[in-house]
Structures are given as structure tokens and as C-alpha cells.
């Protein structure tokens, strides 16, 4: 599995020696990617580099996860899976989707516990490998906590 997060740089997380993965560009309805709880989030994506290998399934989801010293927890807020060519073709290589944020949890930059919201786009290929692209956005305006 390869994982690309544009906010971390080209290498992504745990890139290792896997074959080149597709490039995913994402645009949020708010350029600053900051939303309030209850707002609608619209996301437009463009996946480049699918010519060499056909996707057999595609998933797009919105979720929150924890990051920090603890084991990672996550909560899926919205999830869609497309597993037939009829349903995949309209979704790749580009598409748009929208979802309404819940009242909580808000994004939180704590010290040993952080809460992040993101959308994930996961492509499953015929060869069996898959590629996931994660794009973080912010919910709420809670100021970060500092190390005491």
C-alpha cells in the first residue's frame, strides 16, 4: 500500500520501494480548508496517472482520527464505495462530492492528543495493490494547546 499526503511532501508516509503511485490533487470549497461544525464541505479531486493500471474499486470517505502518543482512533463520518465499472467510471479520474459536518468532534491540536479531520480517497487496482491519498482540513477554531 502506498500513501501520499501532499501536506507532508512528495515522499508521503512509509513510501518504501513500491511502484510509482498516482498523483491526487484536491480542492476544497473553502480555500483555507477551515470549516465550522455543521457546514457543508465540497471537495473536487483529480487523479493523475491511472492510465497504466485500471482501478477495480474506489472509495472516498470523510473521517476524523486521533494523533499523538496514544493508539490511533478514528471515526468514519461519510463513506462511499464504488466497485463496478459502471459506478467507478463517473468517479475517476475526477469527481466532486459533498458532505455535511457533524457538531463534533472539532479539530484539536493538543499536546499528546490531537484530533484531525480528513478526506481519504482510496483506489484499488486490478493487480491487488491499493493507493490511499489523505487530505486534512480543519473543523472549528479551537486554539492549539501548548506543552505546559
Amino acid at each position: 500500500m502506498s500513501h501520499a499526503d501532499p501536506q507532508l511532501g512528495a515522499g508521503g508516509i512509509g513510501a518504501g520501494s513500491s511502484p510509482p503511485f498516482p498523483r491526487v490533487d484536491v480542492r476544497f470549497s473553502h480555500p483555507g480548508r477551515v470549516y465550522e461544525a455543521g457546514e457543508w464541505v465540497t471537495v473536487e479531486y483529480l487523479i493523475d496517472g491511472l492510465a497504466a493500471e485500471r482501478p477495480r474499486a474506489f472509495e472516498r470517505s470523510a473521517l476524523w482520527y486521533t494523533e499523538g502518543k496514544g493508539e490511533e482512533d478514528l471515526g468514519i463520518h461519510s463513506f462511499e464505495r464504488f466497485a463496478t465499472s459502471e459506478t467507478i467510471d463517473p468517479m475517476v479520474p475526477e469527481g466532486t462530492f459533498a458532505f455535511q459536518l457533524p457538531t463534533s468532534p472539532l479539530s484539536y491540536e493538543g499536546v499528546i492528543v490531537k484530533i484531525r479531520w480528513c478526506i481519504r480517497l482510496r483506489i484499488f487496482f486490478e493487480s491487488g495493490r491499493d493507493h490511499v491519498s489523505e487530505h486534512v482540513f480543519t473543523v472549528g477554531r479551537v486554539p492549539p494547546s501548548r506543552f505546559p
Partner: protein
């Protein structure tokens, strides 16, 4: 000294009185079982083994004991030790922990996955349920908050240690006494007894000191005018602090604590960190009314930019009202009252508010 109330109206799912008394009683019961197992086992073993007076260096098992009789005889003390020991371990492990932490710690990895999510406030995913915080009405204000107190760890710990250790001391002392009466002096046993007695006396002293501290400073009660709390709003909080002695100072404040649970090799560890402290009020040289308590009423404002309470399987962000008191001639103690802060009310945008990307 305030004794636990034995006949009260049960409120919700939580204990109606001190968590310390309840767990102490439970731990005391298991400690008794362990002590009984130790005493019984030692008596059986020492009674079954003797030496031939003509040849003191040889040890002779009493005749007539088959191997299965040994097994049967030792079954009772082993059962007492196992049952009592496991119960004690459970009491010690769950002492001071919240309901959710106990449920998470008691299941295996496999069962934990099946256990489902942490209970939440309806309409606020990730915000922990406050049912257990709102099921006790206050005397003056709307709710009386339950206590989550860290310093009672030492009280139970000292008590159990003193009990167990002195049970062993008694068994050893009985053995020495019987030998002396019989005209023999087992110097090895006497030598072992001396440090055991010293540690046993020390354990009793520490336990008595902890009990006196706990009872002389009295209970702490906190009531609040409303719950759950919302950032930016102000609430009435009533503090009641019992005790007969002077307090050099009493501090009331709000704290935000992050908790993260992680695996470190074969261990599961939890780290806690207070990341925000909001002082509310301080009182100096407080003398509770004899037979009564010190009472004060203050306004507590939840900071407008506060993070709401959050709880998931391995991580949490929790608000608490914290009372720190420094009694005269005694060490400082801390008493913690968890609260839940929900996010500011959100107006859910209608479906036609979906923005198109230009």
C-alpha cells in the same frame, strides 16, 4: 470521622458514597481471604513437617500422608490465595479509574473490538456521555458532581499492605512463640521476624496516618447550576469542604487534561497531561464551622475558545473541576470532579447550502 452510609437511596449507576470506602471494603474482603490462605497453608505445612529429635538435621514427613492427601489438604489454602489474590489485584488495578477505563482494561484485544463505542452525548459524536454526572441532585444547586479522587490510592494501598504484611508477621510470631514454649530457639526465624515486625509496624503507622488525614480533612462536595457545560457560559458552583482543622489555603480551578493510552511492548500504558489550568478562586486560612463545613459559592466561566470534552477508545480530552487544599500540619490533597463540556450549539446548514466550486 464520617462512616459510610449503609442504607441510602441508590442514585443511577454510581456509588452513593465514597469510592474509597467501597473499594476499601472490597479490598479488605479479598485481603482477608489471602491472609487466611497464608495462615492456613503455613499451619498445614509446618504442622506436617517435623524432625526426629534424635537426629535434628533430618526432616521427616509425618507418616500416613499420601500424595493425594497433600494435594487435597493444600487445595483449600491455594484456593483462598488464588481467589483472594486475583480479587485484590483487580481492586488495585481498577482503583481510581473511570467506568470506561475499567471496561477497556478488562477485555482482551478481541473482545475490545466487539465492545462497541464509548458512550456519547446524543447529537455530539465523540463527546462522552454525562449520564453519571447528572444523576445526583444538589442540595442548593441543580447537580452534585461525583468525586474522582487520586489521593485515596494511598489509603487503600497502605491498608492492604499493613493487613497482609502483619498477617505474615503474626504467623511467624506464632511459630517463634510455639518454639520458645517448646524449649527450642530458632534463631533463623527470630532473625527473620525482626525486620518483618519493623516493616509491619511501619505499615500500620502509615495506614493510620492516611486514615487520620482522610477523616480529619473531611469530604469535599461540589455542586453546579447546570450541566453539560458550554464554552463562553458562566455557571454557579458551590463548594463544601468538611473537616475540623484549619486549612492554610483552598484553591478551586478548572483543568483540561489529555489522556493517551498506548502499547509499549507487552504493556499498555496511559499518559495524562494537564494542558490548561483556569484558576477560579482561592481562600486563605479557612476554618470550617465545628460540626459543619466551609462553604463558598463562585461563578465559573468556561473559556470561550475551549475545546469540548472528547473521548474515544484510546484517547480523551477531559475537563475537571479541581479542588486543592492545604490543611494545617498535613500535606496538600487534591480532589477532582469531572465535568463535560459540549461544543457551542451548531446551526446545521440546510442541504442547499452546499457550495459549488468556482
Amino acid at each position: 470521622m464520617r462512616l459510610p452510609r449503609f442504607f441510602t437511596k441508590k442514585r443511577g449507576h454510581r456509588r452513593t458514597d465514597s469510592h474509597a470506602w467501597g473499594s476499601f471494603a472490597e479490598g479488605f474482603f479479598y485481603a482477608l481471604l489471602v491472609g487466611a490462605g497464608v495462615v492456613f497453608g503455613l499451619l498445614l505445612v509446618t504442622g506436617a513437617v517435623s524432625y526426629a529429635p534424635a537426629d535434628p538435621d533430618s526432616v521427616v514427613l509425618q507418616r500416613g500422608y499420601e500424595w493425594w492427601m497433600w494435594l487435597l489438604t493444600l487445595l483449600i489454602p491455594v484456593a483462598l490465595l488464588a481467589f483472594g489474590g486475583s480479587g485484590l489485584v483487580r481492586v488495585l488495578r481498577t482503583w481510581g479509574k473511570s467506568q470506561e477505563h475499567r471496561a477497556a482494561a478488562s477485555t482482551t484485544m478481541i473482545l475490545r473490538r466487539l465492545a462497541g463505542n464509548v458512550p456519547e452525548v446524543h447529537g455530539h459524536p465523540g463527546v462522552p456521555s454525562c449520564d453519571n454526572l447528572e444523576n445526583s441532585p444538589g442540595i442548593v444547586l441543580r447537580y452534585r458532581l461525583p468525586l474522582e479522587s487520586p489521593e485515596n490510592w494511598s489509603l487503600v494501598g497502605f491498608g492492604l499492605f499493613a493487613l497482609l504484611w502483619n498477617a505474615v508477621v503474626v504467623v511467624l510470631a506464632v511459630g517463634v512463640g510455639v518454639d520458645l514454649i517448646g524449649g527450642t530457639t530458632d534463631w533463623l526465624l527470630i532473625g527473620l521476624l525482626v525486620p518483618f515486625v519493623a516493616i509491619g509496624v511501619g505499615g500500620v503507622v502509615l495506614f493510620v496516618r492516611a486514615v487520620v488525614l482522610s477523616t480529619s480533612v473531611g469530604p469535599t462536595h461540589v455542586e453546579i447550576s447546570d450541566h453539560p457545560l458550554v464554552p463562553g457560559r458562566t455557571y454557579d458552583v458551590r463548594l463544601g469542604q468538611g473537616g475540623s482543622n484549619l486549612f492554610r489555603s483552598i484553591d478551586l480551578g478548572l483543568e483540561l487534561e489529555e489522556t493517551a493510552t498506548f502499547r509499549q511492548g507487552t504493556d499498555t500504558r496511559t499518559q495524562r497531561l494537564v494542558v490548561r489550568r483556569v484558576p477560579v478562586s482561592t481562600w486563605q486560612r479557612v476554618q470550617p464551622v465545628p460540626g459543619g463545613s466551609f462553604e463558598a459559592r463562585v461563578a465559573v466561566t468556561i473559556p470561550e475558545d475551549s475545546m469540548h470534552s472528547f473521548s474515544s477508545e484510546n484517547n480523551s480530552v477531559q475537563w475537571r473541576i479541581v479542588v486543592r487544599a492545604l490543611p494545617d500540619h498535613w500535606p496538600e490533597f487534591t480532589r477532582v470532579f469531572p465535568v463535560v463540556v459540549v461544543p457551542v450549539a451548531t446551526v446545521m446548514a440546510p442541504a442547499d447550502a452546499v457550495e459549488a466550486l468556482g
